[in-house]
Point group: C2
Chain length 345, copies 2
């Protein structure tokens, strides 16, 4: 294995660089005018994701504009339920909608052989993106974690506390565990196919890990993510693995301690002291600038950027937000962020 | 000062009892048929809170039925904005609604002299409840924390991430800090008046502390709560103080380390290892049974009760839920919970 020379991959290998590499969650998105223009050409959001030339263009737009150290393929975590036969619609202003799955029978009807062909456009987009990227820019694939996908599949939509999914997990443990197990396998296969299509690192988004009761973390989030990471490391040892158990702030060191997890992404609720905790447990911290500070800009933004840089000075770190960039974020603030992280502002 | 003989107050003083005292957040509530019957007699929710005979009856109902070690006065955290002149309505199925406050001028119009008389029915209810309670049952007063109240006042309703309030805090720091400061004073005064009316302990609910970016915790949650607790301890040294910074799991030890905070209540996302962290920092842990496990009952419920009891065996602890009890919770499960915590099931 040759030593990686892309800064993002160097950082994920534990190298302390003079300046951390930077990318932003949801960097291909509505805050960019060129994205909003592109978006008008697809009839709905998942069509956009499944049209390789559009997904490639969306993935490349923020790289051209800001020169981020990594591109993340333009896709969505809900392509997995959609591919398994639980159709997903995106309703403007309301987020994703699915016909909820709340029985063992509905879970048995998910078709585990369907995703490979169904998601071929995602892999095609990765191949084309990889070919088009500058030589120093890494390519990231991703998937939702089993718990977060199961939560959407059972609720049928986003939720404040995922109470229906949590109740189902206790009331129907055999069915729920079967669903988690199916998703664990499907997420691993989807990530491996993304790696084979050119992804050099993959990120698992457990967006609703913070809604879990502590007793569910090992069984429903940490355990499945650890096994997915181990399988990927066994089958594709060159790929880097990032876990993002958003909001599970009492458990960050436990995720970081998994040998197959290279980096742990931290939400903005994690203090900078969590960076050391992640490193001490054996992983590289990623994050965790508050997206609201990026909207605000000015002295607040500089203070928060500098606090993160100071907490990681001389140590490995991947600069990112604590959550996705929001549509109202001024482009100029993103330009300033990138320049400042690179010591040029 | 005489040694308290009520188990709840003994536990809050750091005593390790053979069995922890128990009460439940929202124990006076819709899971009780006698509460639902009582509720039909008030035209809206805040009228219910402001009618002492009804508030007293609601407060006493769960004490009569389950013999909890503490009664919490039937009221709401939003009585403070309502009393300050920002009227609060409760819309069935949608939660609280307020005309949002988003300017320095609107904040200046809040009337800080209005709450004492406006909230007289709350204090009357406390006095009558204290007189009616069994001798071994303690009485708890409460208030929302400044951040949580400010979040509702700025958003105008509940929210998934309180982004509008967080943006306002950065965009209008002088106005936001003025609002936090007003609320800090009002919360302290409301709690002191509750103590003078018979509350032996008070709990501060920072329900949305988990939505704060790490850099906002000290300025907007921990600092105000610490100063409120210090003022109360200075003016009413016999009163016990419980903080509930829900979801701020990376900061529990920091809240516990405040000398004026006697106990820290933990949400269900906190692992049982957090109990020791709270004790090591100098406070008594309260919590943190998953309300969903209480709905489920059976072996899951017993396992979770026993895990909490085992983690606190021989140490000080106040048994509670990690969040409020939900309307669909079976009465029989609550009976079983109380019996098991007391070693009788």
């Amino acid at each position: 294995m040759t030593k990686p020379t892309k800064p993002f991959l160097q950082a994920l290998s534990g190298e302390a660089l003079p300046r951390p590499p930077i990318w932003l969650m949801r960097q291909a998105g509505r805050y960019l005018p060129e994205y909003r223009e592109l978006r008008t050409r697809a009839k709905d959001f998942l069509d956009f994701c499944y049209t390789p030339e559009m997904a490639v263009e969306a993935t490349l737009q923020p790289i051209r504009r800001f020169g981020f150290d990594a591109a993340i393929i333009f896709s969505d975590i809900l392509v997995i339920p959609d591919a398994l036969g639980q159709p997903v619609r995106f309703v403007t202003g309301e987020g994703p909608k699915l016909e909820p799955i709340r029985s063992a029978r509905a879970i048995d009807q998910l078709d585990g052989e369907r995703p490979e062909a169904f998601l071929a456009p995602v892999y095609a987009a990765l191949r084309a993106t990889r070919a088009a990227l500058p030589v120093e820019t890494a390519l990231i694939g991703f998937a939702g974690a089993p718990w977060t996908l199961a939560a959407y599949m059972i609720e049928g939509a986003g939720s404040r506390d995922y109470a229906t999914a949590r109740k189902f997990a206790l009331a129907e443990p055999a069915a729920f565990n079967r669903l988690i197990s199916i998703l664990e396998d499907q997420v691993a296969r989807h990530l491996i196919r993304q790696i084979d299509a050119g992804a050099e690192a993959v990120q698992i988004f457990d967006s609703w890990a913070g809604a879990l009761p502590a007793y569910g973390v090992e069984a429903w989030s940490l355990g499945p993510i650890r096994r997915i990471a181990e399988r990927i490391k066994a089958e594709r040892p060159e790929a880097r693995m990032i876990a993002f158990p958003r909001g599970a702030d009492a458990f960050m060191a436990a995720y970081a301690a998994c040998p197959a997890i290279d980096a742990v992404s931290l939400g903005q609720s994690a203090p900078t002291s969590a960076f050391s905790a992640v490193r001490d447990a054996g992983a590289v911290p990623q994050g965790n600038l508050d997206p609201v500070a990026l909207i605000q800009g000015g002295a607040v933004l500089d203070r928060e950027i500098d606090a993160i840089l100071a907490a990681s000075a001389g140590r490995s770190h991947v600069f990112n937000l604590g959550h996705g960039i929001t549509p109202e974020t001024p482009i100029a603030h993103v330009e300033h962020l990138v320049a400042r992280v690179r010591g040029k502002a």
